[in-house]
Amino acid sequence: MKPILLYLFLVGVPVLAVSEVLRAGQRLRPPVFVEGTWMIERDAGAEASCSDDVISSDSTVLTISQSGPHLVLTLNGRNRTTLEGEIHDAKITAVTAGFASLSSPDSQGAAVPEIQLNATVERTSGSDRLLGALVFNPCPSITATPFSAKRQTTGPLQER
């Protein structure tokens, strides 16, 4: 009898606890999913500015990798710019973490321009969009470049 009681206590009780934990977890809200490739389009009215090396005048690919709210964003414009940031609710904020000139590889080690990205995820039926602006500091001509981006593909985990 003792082994059965022991089994019920040591195994049965934790099983019940697991089911309670699973129920409690249903209330948690995870971060919005933004991982994948996005195509950035600079707003038509935006002036030529410090952003020219970061996002091209035609279109630039923005790649986002995500771990919970933590994001790593890579802009593949004339130069490759890496930003690190977070997403809370539907708002993304990120700042420069690395910069590499694709046209002149010798520029590695050059001063990293300070760029801040602020964007909001907009959900419409069928497609997701990012609406936001890149803020350059210092920039003599213009400080913020508005942009929008359309999701191209989701991250590798979804492509199954």
Partner: protein, 421 residues
């Protein structure tokens, strides 16, 4: 692009690095397999890709990884078949009371702690694609694994197999393996059913029907194969071909059913006849190629997916430390407590806890499945690979500390005397 030369160079480099790091680990009294796991990480973006991105991308171009993955997956099918073959029901029956309680407690404790940790980690490391239930169940299953093959190797090297502690540990790990794979199969079915059009009931009833067919029909066929072996006293090429057909066929069916190809290979290994000569002959044909060639390829592929750089910043290292702590406390604590309550001394119970805490490459297999089905992110994958390495590396030195050689010798001689009496 010529793919074959690339693949051949990859295999050569992987084998060289795996043997070298494995040899270094043997010199520091660690099983070779842990060194091979570490070698995989060294070849990935965490070291080679970080130190020399140019060499890394030349050696492992992205377009070539599909070939490497396919080769390593075939090797994993062989490996899971061999793991299944090592499970012997008769051994479990001898110690069913201790083994069933200890192994089930050593599964449910880390499972519970894993799901509790998921409450904290889910909003911080997951996203809206993944349901909480899937994330929590996977984390629980991944925490509760024991690496049966690594455990068996450690017990053999430490000459513990003949003693009470070794016998209980092997029996617990065997029960634990079957239970953990069933849990993981359930998680995979749940996640895939959520994403696919195939109804859940079809997968569940299909799997149940398949397992029943394996136990009632295929098992008899396998006994017939064993008789063929006994007639010739050798595994002929025709017989080997039949066995391989069954392994790959079973893997294909379970993959189609929505569980995973590895379950099929494992299942056919479990129901293989366990007659010593037949088992030895069959293992002899497959083991060397699997262990020496295919497993290092799998470790390398896992290493290429492991980006330890994703674990950066105080927050992420804290989550990583939490995962490692939960895994150790749950597995070690659960197994040791249950072993103590079934009558073992504290030292013996502690040894059981340490042995059951070994996760090794079975954990890597499970983590790769989690990453493939999208239930964990690359950052969580990297953290859990570190957890697998830490829990495996700590086994041998902690075992020597808590259960020193003089106690092991006494345990083995007492068990031998008891058997003789």
């Amino acid at each position: 692009m010529p793919q074959l030369p690339t693949l051949l160079i990859q295999v050569v480099v992987i084998l060289l690095v795996a043997r070298l790091v494995g040899w270094i680990f043997r010199r520091i009294h660690q099983p070779q397999v842990i060194g091979e796991m570490a070698a995989g990480i060294l070849l990935g973006p965490s070291l080679l890709g970080w130190v020399s991105p140019a060499i890394s991308s030349a050696l492992f171009p992205i377009e070539s990884l599909g070939f490497l993955n396919s080769l390593s997956q075939v090797g994993l099918l062989f490996f899971m078949f061999l793991v299944g073959m090592e499970l012997d029901g008769r051994r479990l029956l001898e110690r069913r009371h201790t083994a069933v309680l200890t192994s089930h407690v050593s599964i449910i404790f880390p499972f519970l702690l894993g799901t509790l940790a998921a409450l904290y980690l889910y909003p911080r490391l997951s996203d809206e694609r993944v349901k909480f239930v899937h994330f929590a169940l996977f984390l629980g299953a991944a925490m509760s694994v024991t690496a049966f093959p690594v455990l068996a190797r450690i017990l053999t090297e430490r000459r513990l197999l003949g003693g009470e502690v070794g016998a209980v540990a092997v029996a617990c790990a065997a029960v634990g393996d079957v239970t953990a794979w069933c849990l993981l199969a359930a998680v995979v079915v749940l996640v895939r059913a959520y994403d696919s059009l195939a109804p859940l009931w079809l997968t569940v009833f299909g799997s149940a029907a398949y397992i029943a067919a394996m136990l009632l029909v295929i098992r008899r066929v396998l006994i017939g194969l064993q008789r063929m072996y006994e007639k010739r006293s050798a595994i002929t090429q025709d017989l080997m071909a039949l066995i391989l057909l069954l392994v790959f066929g079973s893997a294909w069916v379970t993959e189609q059913l929505g569980i995973h190809a590895l379950f099929g290979a494992f299942l056919i290994g479990v129901i293989m006849p366990k007659e010593a000569g037949f088992k030895r002959a069959l293992s002899g044909k497959l083991e060397d190629l699997t262990v020496v060639l295919f497993l290092p390829l799998f470790f390398a592929f896992t290493g290429l997916r492991t980006r330890i750089g994703l674990v950066h910043g105080g927050d992420m290292w804290f989550y990583c430390a939490l995962i490692i702590a939960v895994a150790i406390v749950g597995k070690f604590g659960g197994a040791a407590l249950a072993a103590r309550l079934t009558g073992m001394s504290w030292r013996e119970a502690g040894a059981i806890g340490i042995l059951m805490n070994t996760r090794g490459l079975i954990e890597l297999v499970i983590l790769n499945i989690g990453l493939e089905i999208g239930v964990i992110s690359p950052a969580v994958f990297a953290m859990m690979v570190l957890m697998a390495l830490v829990t495996t590396v700590m086994t041998a030195p902690l075992l020597d500390l808590i259960y020193p050689p003089r106690l092991r010798r006494r345990d083995v001689s007492d068990s031998g005397a008891a058997r003789a009496a």
